[in-house]
């Protein structure tokens, strides 16, 4: 994994803070027998090398669909119907299938939530990683396998020589997730997309895997897009945070700003709903709960999608959808009730 390391320390796009991944105006629709509906609308994202952006939200908010679209891995029924995804200035949506396959692994790679379903059960993990290497590098079987063992060592797999010859079912959950990270990083992609990589893991293993991901990211200068529902994970690793609700961005800020000064009532509700934010409170004290449930995406209310559950909603919220706009420098929100800078 050495001959490409020059690439990661010196981004081809010039200035180190130049984004390597830019998404704008992204719309993803799902087709059904009764027509189609949008699951992601007007999504935008910009990630620089070495930067970590977290997309956070609850089930069905569109965070995973956004992640899959970044690798053109959307399921059959879903497709990108608007907007742009640019990797290093190249429009991903305009590429032919062959080139997209070259991009995956080399430019952008993904870690999935459940390694047991994402890994191939009939190949040893060493073979799977070697296969990814041979897709992108002219290497013989032997050399590719050695590269795989090296990648497993990089993710601190215990006894990598032996583990490389084992099948996914022979490994523990934490080791499988390490194998998947090795598989994703073996060709040193510029961008890593991680979809809930620690959700299926125990908390002590989660701590190890989060430590590993941010360690490798620093070392390789990878841009990281992390999808999660867990604000604790966000607080641990994010530089910037995008909060999604019902397919749209509702707030975006640096991690510090978001936790210091959450603006959108939904973000406030999410933070208040976390039991740990009430640490030290008496037994029997109440959590902030957001009443009701997320509306179905095919039947969104007119106006702000959160209005029916929002404690601050006024009549305007039910009529007009608020623009996603900069309320304070670098801090964006889509809410009529949040005023501009110190207003």
């Amino acid at each position: 994994m050495s001959h490409t390391s020059a690439v990661s320390s010196q981004p081809a796009s010039g200035r180190p803070d130049q984004p390597i991944l830019t998404v704008s105006g992204l719309e993803i629709r799902i087709r059904t027998g009764q027509g189609s509906f949008a699951v992601v609308s007007d999504m935008a994202l910009s990630v620089a090398p070495g930067e970590t952006v977290c997309i956070v939200g609850e089930s069905g908010c569109g965070k995973s669909m956004t992640a899959l679209s970044l690798l053109r891995l959307l399921p059959e029924a879903a497709s990108v119907t608007g907007g742009k995804i640019e990797i290093d200035g190249v429009d991903l949506l305009a590429l032919d299938q062959r080139t997209v396959e070259d991009y995956r692994g080399e430019k952008i790679a993904m870690i999935f939530q459940e390694p047991l379903t994402a890994l191939n059960p009939v190949l040893t993990i060493g073979e799977q990683i070697a296969e990814a290497v041979r897709q992108h590098r002219k290497l013989g079987r032997r050399a590719a396998f050695d590269r795989a063992v090296e990648a497993l060592r990089l993710v601190q797999m215990p006894d990598p020589q032996r583990r490389a010859r084992q099948y996914p079912h022979e490994l523990s959950g934490g080791m499988r997730q390490r194998a998947m990270i090795a598989l994703a990083l073996v060709c040193e992609p510029r961008i890593l997309v991680a979809d809930e990589p620690t959700t299926a893991l125990d908390v002590t293993i989660q701590a190890q895997i989060l430590g590993l991901i941010s360690d490798l990211q620093k070392r390789l200068g990878t841009a990281l897009v992390m999808i999660t529902h867990d604000l604790g994970v966000v607080a641990e690793i994010a530089d910037r945070v995008v909060v999604m609700y019902a397919g749209r961005r509702i707030e975006e800020a640096s991690a510090n700003d978001l936790f210091d000064n959450p603006m959108h009532p939904y973000t406030l509700g999410l933070l208040g709903a976390i039991p740990r934010s009430h640490a030290g409170a008496k037994v029997g004290s109440r959590l902030v709960d957001i009443t009701g449930t997320v509306p179905p995406l095919w039947d969104l209310p007119k106006g702000c999608a959160f209005a029916p559950r929002c404690p601050k909603a006024v009549s305007r919220c039910h009529q007009e959808r608020p623009e996603f706009e900069e309320k304070q420098p670098g801090h964006f929100a889509a809410c009529w009730e949040v005023t501009h800078a110190n207003g």
Binding site: Q208, L216, R286
Partner: protein
């Protein structure tokens, strides 16, 4: 056994063991055992919440299932209201089953998709033949309202409800017979955080109003800290520390409790944990280390820990702890 306030505990568990045989080969010979629960003791008082917390495979769910008689204990004793559960037969057994109920983790697989909500909630009343048919239907309506469901939805099927609503159905079913104890097996871990908060608030209201005791099984320290009066931390089939909630969270004593609490992400990006990319080879219940099961991961481990197993013992500050060094 007497509790601090002098009242006898409602449920006392003494040295509970649940082992599963490992069988191999054409003769199905027993070649070993998974010691899922390996000598667990605790007591539960009326109206309190005791949490069993630990990671996958520590035996917390198995403990809950064994208490309900859904798994047969290999050893040890469970006493309910001063009487030995194993000796219960006939009416006594039926009454025990009435007074101890369970809420399951997965609100999708724990409700029969072919039954209407009314029938699901009424099933315990039917089985125990409580009241007349009309009384049972009235009770179903009352329960639905109690857990925040609209009684006019009683004829719907489970799949017509969201995950949070389904968990409310499971709670209504568990409440139907006015139990003294509800075993809550990870009741909120399948739910989104905003819905999770709704269910946790409901559970805490129910305890306040009905005085029901919860044995709350969870891997989520945040949830445990919010809901519990006392906490028992389990590791590989044993309780390693048991104490009041504040003692556990403000001042964890067992090195494993410390590791668990230290591994939970903070909610403050200015004060990050800086997790290490470390790697322990983590043992399981099939290959338990000798002596103290935690010694392979413990920073304090010495030869004593590798050789002899520390017993859970009561300390001066009121907590029970199984550690040679603390």
């Amino acid at each position: 056994m007497q509790t601090a306030d002098g009242s006898a505990p409602l449920l006392t568990v003494n040295g509970l063991k649940v082992h599963f045989a490992i069988r191999k080969g054409v003769l199905n010979r027993v070649v070993g055992a998974v010691r899922a629960v390996d000598g667990v003791s605790f007591s539960l008082r009326r109206g309190e919440t005791l949490s069993l917390v630990g990671e996958s495979g520590c035996g917390k769910s198995t403990t809950g299932l064994a208490l309900l008689g859904l798994l047969k204990p290999t050893g040890g004793q469970v006493e309910f209201d001063g009487q030995t559960v194993r000796d219960f037969r006939g009416a006594a057994l039926k009454s025990y089953r009435k007074r101890v109920q369970i809420i399951f983790q997965d609100p999708f697989s724990s409700l029969n998709p072919r039954h209407r909500v009314r029938d699901i909630i009424r099933a315990p009343l039917d089985i125990h033949q409580v009241g007349t048919r009309a009384e049972r239907d009235a009770r179903v309506a009352e329960l639905m309202e109690r857990v925040g469901l609209r009684p006019d939805q009683a004829n719907n099927f489970a799949h017509q409800f969201s995950g949070g609503q389904r968990q409310r159905i499971g709670i209504a079913r568990a409440l139907a017979l006015n139990p003294d104890i509800i075993v809550c097996d990870e009741p909120v871990s399948a739910l989104d955080v905003s819905v999770q908060a709704q269910i946790l608030n409901l559970l805490s209201d129910l305890q306040r109003d009905l005085g029901v005791a919860f044995l709350f099984i969870s891997h989520d320290l945040g949830v445990v800290e919010y809901l519990s009066h006392r906490v028992a931390v389990m590791y590989l089939g044993k309780i390693v520390e048991i104490a009041d909630k504040t003692a556990i969270f403000a001042n964890p004593s067992h090195p494993y409790t410390e590791l668990l609490i230290g591994s939970a992400p903070s909610l403050d990006p200015r004060n990050r944990h800086q997790f290490k990319a470390s790697n322990d080879d983590i043992p399981s219940a099939t290959n338990k280390p000798s002596g103290c099961s935690f010694h392979t991961r413990c920073p304090l481990a010495t030869d004593a820990c590798r050789e002899s197993e520390p017993q859970l013992s009561l300390r001066d500050d009121g907590r029970s702890l199984a550690c040679h060094h603390r």
